[in-house]
Symmetry: C2
């Protein structure tokens, strides 16, 4: 409720500024931080991908600006309405809501979702309120189980008492209240199947932790949930992915943020996340060479990109792993391949052993 009032105040301030300019007969304007690649940098101190300080002025009386100006104001009006109602929309729904035809014309305020998306992102920057606070949700995906009790929408939910399914993670976790956190760390898994493996083996119970998964790249909701638990309860976050450039990039995004969401890294990135997934060393140690999957051309291309990202370039250990994957192992491998050593090998041996021996990568 407090957050909603704060966001509404923020949005009203924006509106008052524009109305003030109109009243004074000035050209109404918005200060929009620049979201081009040239204004995005890896911040070595904060260890995140961050936006630079470049700001552009966007004017109402400017043929090149006016459409975007009006779209941003419309996004602000929608966000205010949603916050006042206590409701949320998905990006897609927000697009349809904003796609209205201007009176006495055949001009739609937005024609493509790209336009409404951009207006919403600009609004995030202008108001410094994340899309979640604007009540415009990202994707819903993923499950969680573990020694945590939360309160959400008036319900008290014990993540350790949800049968084989677990709690379904919502797209927006801003309003969740943590009532009791007994877990000592978090295990994040790239795939739902691995989550089911660990959950059936009750890893969260045996190792006193939280087990979370997405399917592929982590959603904003999951990243935010990981970040909140990591900051508010100082829980180490261990990321488990397959042995391939795509898996490693999933880790990279969770830890350092991404270029496309650089403006919101502070609310999503987890700089001290730890990689516990398959490394080149593991392929040898756990004798997984038999289960290697051939590189496709895209894998090698992606690997080269990952190798050259600023945040990996100066990391000796990661460079060693990347080079080993490319020149020595010459193939990809999946976490599921650990099953060849036993149905619950990943739960009983791989995870507890690696954590105990502190062999995660930074």
């Amino acid at each position: 409720m407090e957050k909603r009032q704060e966001t509404i105040k923020n949005l009203k301030k924006l509106g008052s500024k524009v109305v003030g300019e109109i009243d004074k007969g000035e050209n109404p304007s918005l200060d929009v931080p620049i979201r081009t690649l040239s204004n995005v940098k890896y911040d070595t101190t904060r260890r995140m991908i961050m936006m630079g300080t470049g700001v552009a002025k966007r004017y109402f009386f400017n043929v090149g600006h006016v459409r975007k100006f009006v779209q941003t104001i419309e996004a602000a009006a929608l966000a205010k309405e949603l916050n006042e109602m206590g409701k949320h929309l998905s990006l897609r729904e927000a697009f349809y809501r904003m796609k209205r035809t201007l009176p006495d014309s055949n001009i739609n305020l937005v024609d493509e979702q790209g336009e409404s998306n951009e207006a919403i992102e600009d609004l995030e920057l202008i108001t410094d309120a994340s899309r979640e606070l604007l009540h415009i949700n990202a994707n819903k995906l993923g499950s969680v189980a573990g020694k945590v009790v939360i309160q959400d929408k008036g319900d008290v939910i014990d993540w350790s008492k949800l049968g084989s399914g677990g709690w379904s993670i919502p797209s927006n976790v801003e309003d969740i209240i943590f009532k009791k956190v007994d877990a000592k760390f978090i295990v994040y898994l790239e795939k739902a199947a691995e989550w089911e493996r660990l959950h059936e083996d009750r890893v969260w119970d045996k190792l006193n932790c939280i087990v979370i998964s997405s399917q592929g790249q982590a959603t904003r909701g999951i990243r935010r949930l990981l970040q909140r638990l990591s900051i508010e309860y100082k829980l180490p976050v261990y990321i488990l992915t397959d042995f391939d450039a795509y898996g490693w990039y999933i880790y990279s995004v969770i830890k350092y943020g991404s270029i496309s969401l650089a403006h919101i890294s502070g609310k999503l990135a987890i700089p001290n996340a730890r990689f516990l997934g398959l490394t080149a060393d593991d392929i040898i140690k756990y004798d997984l060479k038999k289960h290697l999957i051939k590189f496709e051309e895209v894998d090698l291309k992606r690997l080269e990109q990952v190798k050259n990202y600023d945040w990996f370039k100066n990391n000796k250990e990661w460079q060693r792993q990347i080079n080993m994957m490319k020149n020595e192992i010459k193939g990809k491998a999946e976490l599921a391949a650990l099953t060849s050593h036993g149905i619950s090998f990943i739960s009983d041996v791989y995870i507890p052993e690696k954590i105990k021996r502190n062999v995660w990568l930074d």
Copy 2:
């Protein structure tokens, strides 16, 4: 537990048969129902896509049969082990588990997941036990909320008290016990974003129902959950999808089953499921023409296929909708477009109105 004993008994019977043949000096064999397209038919009485009665003999002493024979036996051994342990594996994990090298050779029992998948499907047919009963799980996806209390893995879970996330649906719902079902019907949604819309609007509370979603095609777990609730509690199942051939095919699979899983239709299909998603009539009635999305070539191709499926071909109402989409509306539309009429229009107007007026399609 009873189910597990039943499955183990089933698998042991299969093993005993083969051992018996070996003891008698016969050529060990398996009777495998034929899974080719020619043995799949739409059963007009049961209103499902079903396998025919064709059966093929598979022999151990036959160069063309032996690899598949051994793979099927290996799958049976794995299923027995899993049932005895009370554990489950994903298809991918099962592949790695079966991919062992035969002693004194460099031959792997399976080389590709396609082989282990096929062995498992054959085993489903031979033993008449679904993959779920064999403890080899499909994908995990989707969320549910509603007036239902279940028991699962010893936990009692109230689907109406799980905050904004809902219960995360497991890949395997065979062991769920329904403790209390107060809901009067089920609403299935193609997309998680729409589920969040309905859940935030508390549709399950207002209309006394269950709200379930997947993302795209429904998983086996979700289909089985829908089917169990539909059979065990005689709940009508309403399917909501977008206005396009792919959405309509999602409905088709839930209702009639699919060709690739024809052997298991009896355990997945819901012949009296009702289509409550967008129809051509709705595009006109709800004034959605402005929000149409252009057909791609694949959309028209898919539509033509849907039109010609046996189970749609003799359905006058569906033929009318398909023809209208193709010749009159000439475009696709999404459920999310209903947002143009109001943030909660789908929850407050569209769903209750259509159900009240009984305008679902069969």
